[in-house]
């Protein structure tokens, strides 16, 4: 496609911005920490030093979770928007998050356990995300109109949400609290030792998305046109759902459902890169997504002496007006 240099330049700028924000965020918390302590806490960890301990146990995992969540959710959103050819599609809107929530709710709050341990929770979330995705996919075979499909996703999300409420009403109060914490969205749920697993899964998802850049570009022309350009549309659809389930499932499992990121960021990336080529949009979305959540975390840290806003509140506060603006521009 056309001149790639400017796209790489933009991505580089975003990357630099992300690095700066990450470093700043690492110094924020209940007390200020120097950059030297940040460095030591991550690379030359000395347990007895309390600043380093804070960085190692609390800050670094928190900020890296923000980065991983940003990447995972925005890439999922981009894939969903291309698959459904709708700028309002996103893992949250289409009920993929809700599917994950429902399974997590079932496994934490009812006698329907899949696996009791932490791995069980992640697994439940991924199965839930995948199940929801499959449901949407199967619906897409019966529904011609892409807008109808979007509505089905929204309805599914509402239904799953209502089921979760029912489960909550009958849950043991102990388990209920676990679930409720989760539903506010938190970046503090991943420990240092688990960062490798989560980061690894997110990178696998990103890498898999890179592998289907060409089909993604061709899907823009519509299913028939893509098919006639050699794409196995059915297989690619399934692949997209799998990747989305993986990315959304992992993040939803550890951080709770985070709204709006998957919806807003891909649109934002398209706006600033001004290309339809997923080669650049993927990286652009991933970087912009990470920047958004890290920025939200910075805001939460700075506000915390005065106001304790849960993560979901911030993403909604920023996301909803942006979504409204997108709709007004496009429709």
């Amino acid at each position: 496609m056309t001149s790639k240099k400017k796209y790489w330049k933009q991505s580089l700028l975003l990357l630099i911005a992300l690095i700066i924000l990450v470093m700043y965020d690492l110094t924020l918390g209940s007390y200020a920490v120097s950059l030297q302590d940040v460095f030591n806490g991550i690379f030359r960890y000395n347990e007895t030093n309390s600043e380093e301990m804070t960085v190692h146990v609390f800050r670094f995992p928190r900020v890296m979770t923000a980065v991983f969540a940003g990447i995972a959710l925005s890439v999922s959103g981009l894939l969903m928007q291309t698959l459904f050819q709708n700028p309002l599609a996103g893992p949250y809107v289409l009920g993929i998050n809700s599917g994950a929530s429902l399974l997590v709710a079932l496994s934490t709050m009812s006698s329907f356990h899949i696996l009791g341990s932490d791995v069980g929770l992640v697994f439940s979330a991924m199965i839930g995300a995948f199940g929801a995705g499959l449901f949407i996919l199967i619906s897409s075979l019966y529904v011609k109109n892409k807008i109808s499909l979007l509505l089905i996703g929204i309805m599914f999300g509402s239904f799953a949400g209502a089921m979760v409420n029912v489960i909550q009403a009958y849950a043991d109060p102990n388990n209920l609290k676990t679930f409720m914490l989760w539903s506010f969205g938190s970046l503090q749920g991943i420990e240092f030792e688990e960062l490798g697993l989560v980061g690894g899964l997110v990178l696998i998802g990103l890498f898999a998305s890179i592998l289907i850049i060409k089909p993604l570009n061709l899907l823009l022309l519509g299913d028939n046109a893509a098919h006639l350009l050699g794409i196995n549309v059915r297989l690619i659809r399934l692949f997209i759902i799998l990747i989305t389930a993986l990315l959304t499932g992992v993040i939803t499992a550890y951080c709770g459902p985070i709204a709006f990121v998957g919806l807003v960021i891909p649109n934002f990336a398209k706006m600033i890169y001004k290309t339809a080529n997923h080669y650049h949009l993927l990286f652009g979305s991933a970087l912009a997504g990470a920047i958004l959540i890290v920025a939200c975390d910075i805001a939460m840290q700075l506000l915390s002496p005065y106001l304790n806003l849960p993560l979901n509140a911030l993403t909604a506060l920023i996301g909803a007006p942006v979504v409204m603006w997108i709709i007004m521009r496009k429709f």
């Binding site: 918390g29 209940s30 007390y31 309390s50 301990m53 804070t54 146990v57 609390f58 800050r59 928190r62 932490d118 109060p173 102990n174 609290k177 676990t178 409720m180 914490l181 506010f184 969205g185 938190s186 503090q188 749920g189 420990e191 915390s304 304790n308 849960p310 993560l311």
Partner: protein
């Protein structure tokens, strides 16, 4: 126009004069009644004013002293008159049930908010489940044919209160939960005593409990060592801890321990960040009032809790295993809670070791 004015003027004058007369008439009537306000020992949320006409109960905001509600109980022609015998009682908060039980009036309860929160199961044919005050369905309350409805006033303007008043149902605000002194909260038993004609019993029970409470306080003062204590739950990515002037903080102070947030101002709870609470309380001896009953569940909520000494040494206690009875009875039995604290924090000073409301977290 002018004609109309002249026509109305005499009537206007007449009205003024008659008002004047009435005003001149009242002073002599008022002077004849003697009001005697009972001085509370600890409670700031109510005032009992005795007179020959009956008793006036004023419900105040304990923090500001502002008068919220007033009720007249007795023979006079005042608006809020309660019948002599209150047979059917709807108690919308479980603390009311605890107080009624203390006065042996449990059998009069005809309606509770929810069966789920009861300490002891009640006869469901006799006792109706009427829902929370937030539910705008007065019919469920009417099914219990209440002579009086006790409510807590978390929302003083709940629309259902108006509806109930319109069908002439008597509501009564119990503001005990706003008291920050443990004995002040228990003292509300006296209000129930006045309502049900059991002032003497209420006074007696309160005094006994108060004496026991002070006995324990004095005993615990003997402790050579004040352990450090953290209290609170992690919920919605926010750590909720009782502030320094709150009910729980008072209890802890009376238990002769070092509550880590005793210096932080406030009568309610504080919202703190996870990082702050953990990094500042790594070496704290005890952690109470968690939301789980096992260490496994606690750590599942956040693995970071295992960094705390209190978790490592297994010194985490909660009332969650007895949560309904705790909420129902502890307000009127703060001495029992204090006793539990004594057994937890200064076991060497206590005769028995079996806890009443609290329990240590299970290992599984």
């Amino acid at each position: 126009m002018k004609l109309n004015l002249i026509f109305f003027l005499p009537f206007f004058f007449l009205a003024l004069v008659s008002c004047e007369e009435k005003r001149n008439a009242t002073p002599s009537h008022v002077e004849s009644i003697v009001y005697d306000t009972l001085k509370n020992e600890y409670a700031k949320g109510f005032q009992l004013i005795y007179s020959s006409e009956g008793t006036i109960v004023n419900v105040l905001d304990p923090l500001t002293g502002e008068l919220i509600k007033n009720y007249s109980i007795g023979k006079g022609e005042a608006y809020n008159v309660f019948s002599d015998s209150l047979h059917n009682v709807v108690a919308l908060s479980t603390t009311h049930i605890g107080m009624l039980r203390k006065l042996g009036l449990e059998s009069r309860i005809s309606g509770v908010a929810s069966y789920q929160h009861l300490c002891h199961p009640m006869n469901i044919t006799k006792v109706h489940e009427v829902g929370d005050i937030g539910m705008t369905d007065p019919e469920r309350i009417l099914k219990a044919s209440p002579d009086i409805i006790f409510y807590s006033g978390y929302n003083l303007n709940a629309p259902i209160l108006n509806k109930l008043e319109r069908v002439d149902k008597k509501t009564f605000l119990i503001y005990d939960w706003k008291e920050t002194h443990p004995l002040g909260r228990a003292e509300w038993l006296k209000v129930f005593g006045v309502l049900f004609g059991k002032e003497k019993e209420a006074h007696h029970i309160f005094t006994e409990m108060k004496t026991n409470y002070h006995r324990i306080v004095t005993n615990l003062k003997e402790a050579k060592h004040q352990p450090t204590v953290l209290a609170g739950t992690y919920f919605g990515d926010v750590f909720n801890v009782p502030a320094g002037d709150s009910y729980m903080a008072h209890l802890l102070k009376d238990a002769n321990v070092n509550y880590v947030y005793s210096e932080m101002e406030g009568v309610g709870s504080l919202n703190l960040g996870l990082e702050e609470v953990i990094t500042k309380n790594l070496e704290v001896d005890y952690w109470i009032n968690v939301a789980f009953n096992s260490f496994k569940d606690l750590i599942e909520q956040s693995a970071k809790f295992s960094m705390l000494k209190s978790v490592k040494t297994g010194q985490v206690y909660t009332y969650i295993n007895d949560v309904n009875c705790f909420w129902e009875n502890s307000p009127v039995e703060p001495d029992k809670v204090l006793e539990d604290f004594g057994k937890i924090f200064h076991p060497e000073l206590m005769e028995e070791s079996e806890l009443i409301y609290y329990s240590r977290l299970a290992n599984q």
